[in-house]
Amino acid sequence: MNRAISRTWWKTAVGLLLTGIMLFPVYWMVNVSLTPEQDMRKSPPDLLPLHGTLEGYRTVLDEQLPYLGTSLVVGLGTVALTVALSAPAGYALAKLRPRGAGVLNFVLLAAQMIPGIVMAMGFYAIYLSLGLLQSVPGLIIADSTLAVPFGVLIFTAFMSGIPGELLQAAKTDGAGPLRTFWSVVLPMSRNAVVTVSLFAFLWSWSDFVFAGTLVNGGAHEPITLGIYHYIGNNNQEWNAIMATAVVASVPAAVILVLAQRYIAAGVTAGAVKD
């Protein structure tokens, strides 16, 4: 075993090198976020933040907190809506075998292929007549369209694995479908709930298309627009822009560190054939 590992050390070295190249832009974002204003246009740029400053992050605290708050609210709202819609649907598709399930599955699949920009234009037209433009609930609904089809597919795949005998036993004990779902199926699907919630939050947090079309210029704008306005205003404080980008990446980092097994669960549930 030890010999086998010492024979593969060079592969670890190559792996480290490749990962370093791949993650260089991420490192660079952090590096620039710590660079003082006067060194920003230095040529060649400093590869290490030796004269690092937290100026950029102070600007984030001063200017970007409302954006971050909006993103948090929108993200949590999207999670709630997505789980509430897709968990019951997954249960029905996995365990109740409704007629017409094939059609519904097909529609869910096709729904994921519609370009975001087309959805955004349709939502814009509808929200304009309903007066929902620049509203947080409107953005939550739009953002949930990014996650609901995925949620249904994950819940269906996951709930298919719950043994039928268990549901039969609940039925024998006199539980109706609703009670079976609430007290047996949902508690057993905790991992699926976590997976769907994580992705719904991440996508809503990252959304730029819906935010840019539906709430642009409104009182409550998410962090993606905060960054976009920074760039659009021809702002030259790149340390502040990159510091905002670092802060906006925190959910992604948290998910990667804390919830990696759920990512794997989400990917394998769908990508690998049973």
Binding site: I5, T8, G15, L16, L18, T19, M22, P25, V26, W28, M29, V32, K42, P44, P45, L85, S86, P88, Y91, A92, A94, L96, R97, R99, V107, L108, A111, M113, P115, I117, V118, M119, M121, G122, A125, I126, S129, I141, L146, P149, V152, L153, I154, A157, S160, G164, P177, L202, W203, S206, G212, Y228, I231, M242, A245, A253, V267, G270, A271, K273
Partner: protein
Amino acid sequence: MKQTTRPPDPRPVRAPAAAPPRDSGAGTRRRPPSAQWAAWAFLAPVTLYLVLFYAYPLYRNIDLSLRHYTVRSFVQGDAPFTGIENYLTVFDDPTFAPALLHTVVFTAVCLVFQYAIGLALAVFFHQHFRLSATLRALFLVPWLLPLIVSASTWSWMLNSDSGVVNAFLNAFGIGPVNWLTSPDWSLASVIIANIWIGVPFNLVVLYSGLQSIPAGLYEAAALDGANAWQRFWRITVPLLRPVSAITLLLGLVYTLKVFDIIWIMTRGGPADSSTTFATWSYQLGFGNLLPAFGPGAAVGNLLVIAALVFGLIYVRAQRKQALS
């Protein structure tokens, strides 16, 4: 494939979840009517949701593309019906040919590189070595980052005067290259950024495909004297074909609709040199002082048709794989 290729679409890894869920097996006999009612009661919210928030926006979009809108009639909703006029306007527009070309080039080049790099990395990480699982997880980072974060980081890295890429090239006596401000390079710049974002998705899906190839096959081939290169071409490539087809098709559908990256990095410019159908549609509808909703919606619908055509091919491939 995120979007963009969400993330993409960020969105990349969610794509494979599109695999049609298998029936839970066992009995195929129909449930009694009351069970059908219960099933559809559970499905009612999502069905209503699909009608209201997918079908209706799509319908509104089609309606937009068939009427002559001005800002006033857009608000009042009394725009005259003009049939396919908006589509004809779009076809005659001098932007049409370049946008089509850029969409094709962007999609094709991104797909080829994302797939090739993803496959090479998947094969590499498949030979378990120390830290391989951790490093493979780190490769997911570009896919998890919000697209605006990736796009703005690449924008600054590719900055003509102060970007690290030109500083690096300068060390070899090359450049400076005006990545984002020269019409010759803008498309290449957004392609590079998008490949970076799409590689993790390809890596993850192809890696899971590799895991389903029985290790015994490789051992038998090695005993028969096949070298690593032959084992790759004779075993990995043929057995990975179904997974490859699905990865590429989903990649295609999701790369077609990439918008965020291009818009944030170049806004489709300079002089339309990186305009694709997705950014052109947005430009028409939202990017000008005088919005052209009708033509914008028309371009968007052309994109929907293209995505659905390849989407249908994907569904067929998926079915075939499920049957085999």
